[in-house]
């Protein structure tokens, strides 16, 4: 590469979006051109600096369902507490009873968690459905308004058309009457003209 790389070429090079040949050519150019090498070094430093601003990872489940996690943690702590208390008795019967109790507590906790999860899903669904209904109502109202507007416009056009037709009909009627009169007048004139030569004889 004899010429200095363009900004486009430099960006493709720095972000690895150029093809192998272009990359090799630009690499070779950088070895020979101190000016371009300095520029690339400076850009790379800037890019590395950008990496210094890191964002904390997003814990969606934690953020969304704190109650669920607290419920699970409470259930585990409860079971552990009961376990430690009962184990100190060192009795076979007590162990069986303890096992049963833990199982029951865990089952209850599990049910509670399922119920909480179900409630949350239900709440979300209700929100979605409400939004959906609002949107549908708004759409229906908009459509109704538009239809009414179209209807009104059509009625107005119909009325105007009717008026125009009435006018045309009146004019046509008047024209016909006039033509009829003219024709009868013409017939009269013709007849009188025919009669006149005979009279002269």
């Amino acid at each position: 590469m004899k010429n200095h790389p363009t900004p486009d070429q430099l960006m493709s090079f720095l972000y690895g979006e150029d093809d192998e040949q272009q990359h090799r050519d630009l690499d070779a150019h950088l070895r020979d051109c101190a000016e371009c090498a300095t520029r690339v070094k400076s850009f790379r430093a800037g890019m590395a600096a950008l990496d210094k601003w890191k964002l904390p990872p997003i814990h969606r489940a934690q953020a969304r369902r704190p109650l669920l996690q607290w419920a699970a943690a409470a259930a585990v702590l409860l079971a552990a507490g009961i376990g430690i208390g009962r184990l100190t008795a060192n009795d076979a019967e007590a162990r069986v009873a303890l096992q049963k109790e833990i199982d029951t507590k865990l089952a209850v906790a599990q049910t509670n968690i399922s119920v909480s999860a179900g409630t949350e899903v239900q709440r979300l669904l209700v929100e979605f459905v409400r939004d959906l209904d609002e949107k549908r109502t708004a759409d229906a109202e908009a459509i109704l308004t538009a239809l009414q507007r179209v209807d009104a416009r059509r009625a107005a056009e119909f009325a105007r058309l009717r008026r125009d037709l009435d006018t045309v009909a009146v004019f046509a009627d008047a024209g016909l009457s006039q033509a009829q009169e003219q024709l009868s007048q013409l017939v009269n004139n013709t007849q009188s003209a025919e009669r006149q030569p005979g009279d002269n004889k």
Partner: protein, 216 residues
Amino acid sequence: MAKKLFTWPALFSSTDEQAMWRVRTDDDADAFARLVARWQGPIQNLCTRMTGDTHRGEDLAQETFARLYAKRKNYEPTARFSTFLWRMALNICYDELRKIKRRGEFFLHEHDDSDDAPAFDPGGDEPAPDDRLAASERAEAVREALVELAEPYRVVVVLRHYEGLKFREIADVLGIPEGTVKSRMFEALAQLNKRLNPLLTDEPRTAPRPREKLLI
């Protein structure tokens, strides 16, 4: 070894486009939940980087998904879902930035509580308090420099450098030629270098940790 044409999970998992189509046509809540799970991170990061504010980023990401559901009927299956979503999130960011400007708010500093402070990943082991402070200062300087960039430059940096989109994809999202995207990126990096120059020259002030790379 012959390259696998497909994997079982890939065969049964739906693409974003298919999921969005189900949301559009059947109001499928499961498909929508999957889309949110996949895209919440990238969208929240985009909104945070664009506004320079973590809390605002969270709010804007939520607003983006609410709008995605509300406008689901506008989705055309010919368009890539990612492009559709990036555009929607960016429009929400632009609206918010306009509101900030109108109210004359300044957001050059993050809130004081430690949760909001820009995080610095030490790379595994716990850094010394001095190092942590220096890292936090560097992160804050970068955040400020980015927020000071004009929006057309900032958006290109955020999408290319932080979100990892190709220049071609950015051109599609922004509806501008690929060449323009690259020129804006060039200009943005040049401006950032000027703004971050003190930071770049201050860097060797402290001895580099073994796992920490030098800036220059």
